[in-house]
């Protein structure tokens, strides 16, 4: 128990001293996770919206597949993307393996189903009278869609928060596609795994606390944002 408390106190000191190595790891984590969340949101939110409001054959099947993909293991995504971007893969010429771009590609694939399914769920629950009202006051299709997204904003924000939470905490994709290269692709989770392997429990705990702190800060930001628009 003393060992755990000592590690925790040392970790707090490390964070408090703004250790450059620690800040570098946090920086890479945030950059990769924010970028992948942004890209997945740009694809997943409109995608989910279109799926929710369009009628096409096998719509239910597509939603079932997206729901299934929520349980996609990160190592499966890692393996899948690796097969495409490794030297022998069809995108091997782009030399993406062990770069932040590769991690972003994997993470985007991982969280698009999360953003899309949560968006489908959020916009499907929107009262149809909003759509009718927008149309009858003369809104075009884009304006109507924007208005519906606005009404579903809390659900969509939850989708984005959940997606961010998934990528900031994942380790499989970052390790397999990023390679845990110090100062380049080392994220909080891959660094924690490495430090644990090395027996550096203090740094591992410090990174764990930092990870929770970052998640907390992001949620605070979204809560503040939701409060601002809740009028």
């Amino acid at each position: 128990m003393d060992f755990l408390i000592d590690s925790f106190l040392s970790a707090m000191l490390l964070i408090g001293s703004l250790d450059p190595g620690l800040l570098e790891i946090i920086g890479v984590s945030l950059k990769v996770s924010c970028t992948s969340t942004l890209i997945a949101s740009v694809i997943g939110v409109p995608g989910g919206f279109i799926i929710a409001f369009s009628e096409f054959p096998m719509k239910r099947l597509l939603i079932t597949i997206l729901n299934t993909l929520l349980a996609l293991p990160t190592v499966v995504v890692g393996l899948f993307v690796y097969a495409f971007i490794s030297r022998r893969g069809i995108f091997g010429v782009f030399d993406l393996l062990y770069t932040p771009k590769a991690m972003i590609i994997g993470q985007v694939i991982l969280i698009i189903p999360i953003v899309a399914t949560f968006t489908i769920s959020a916009v499907s629950r929107i009262d149809d009278r909003y759509r009718k009202t927008a149309l009858t006051v003369g809104a075009n299709l884009f304006q109507t869609a924007w208005m519906l997204v606005r009404e579903a904003r809390f659900g969509i924000a939850a989708a984005i928060i959940a997606a961010f939470g998934r990528v900031i905490a994942e380790v499989g994709i970052s390790m397999m596609l990023g390679g845990n290269v110090r100062g380049f692709t080392r994220t909080m989770t891959t660094a924690m795994a490495l430090e644990y392997d090395k027996g550096q429990f203090v740094l591992s705990v410090a990174l764990g606390i930092a990870l929770l702190g970052v998640s907390f800060a992001v949620n605070l930001f979204f809560n503040y944002f939701q409060g601002k628009v809740r009028v």
Binding site: D127, R129, Y130, K132, T133, L135, T136, V137, G138, A139, N140, Q143, M147, R150, E151, R230, V231
Partner: protein, 335 residues
Amino acid sequence: MLYELRNLKKIYDGRTVLDLEQLSLDRGKITSLLGPNGAGKTTLLEIMAFLSGPSSGEVWFEQEKVNFTTGKLMHLRRKVVLVEQQSILFTTRVWKNVAFPLRIRGASKAKRERIVEELLDLVGMGAFGHARAHKLSGGETQRVAIARALACFPEVVLLDEPTANVDVENQIAIERIMQEINQKKGISVIFTTHNMIQASRLADETVFLYEGKVARSIYENIFSGHIETERNGCKQCILQYGLKLGVDSPKSGPVRISIDPSAVKISQSRANASAENTFKGKLIQLTDEQSRVRALVDVGIPLSVLIPKEVFGDLGLEMGAEVWLTCPVESIEVF
């Protein structure tokens, strides 16, 4: 002519909810669509608002045939606006709700501010501009929804049971707004209601709808009953309440009947009343309706009677008085 509907049908899940052979509505008037629940009033309004297409038939608006299949209906929707029975406001401030139609039409901020203020004053909601829209009461919501509809500068305002869910104060306010926008702004107002008195009070014209069709007779005094043929060959309709009415119809078995309130004769003594279909009742309500007086008489069932004012003056009827009603066979429609 504002609207012309020809052979219009709307079918939901194999059930015909609207079946109109021909219906024409004039410009610049207040028109009421009167009918009970399930008469197809809301469906008709949605078609007239170009929000939903008919299953078959033609809709003509301002001499232009509406093509629902192309999806290019925005230019028409910008002339007609629908206020739903339970209007919904966007989850933002009242002011932004009313400004929404102006913003999507590219109106400048100064113009938006001026018009929104004007419209909120018109509906008596001037003090609520910065209120949260979803915190308003039902009546207030309805008034803001009307202001938002007027911000579209429509030629036609369609209102679906505009006073169905509001208190008396808001009902008076909404009826005043409907008359004001028609008289001062020249906007054609078409509203649905199941309130005969409201329809006759507000509307220049009334269309009676029943089971998706334009009813030939007046939608009033509608009862369920059972037709039986007597030994002498005469037919009698026995209402659910035990009242027996002589009818002239080839039908038998379970039916619905309507009794034209303007054809029912009222008198204070049996001697003045003819023998057939004559019932004793108690006068329970009197309502002034322009050139007529509506009397509600309890004869076991509440029966509405329309009396010309000059006749009413001679009758000297008083509330609670015992009266005799005669329903001529011609006043009873069986369907």
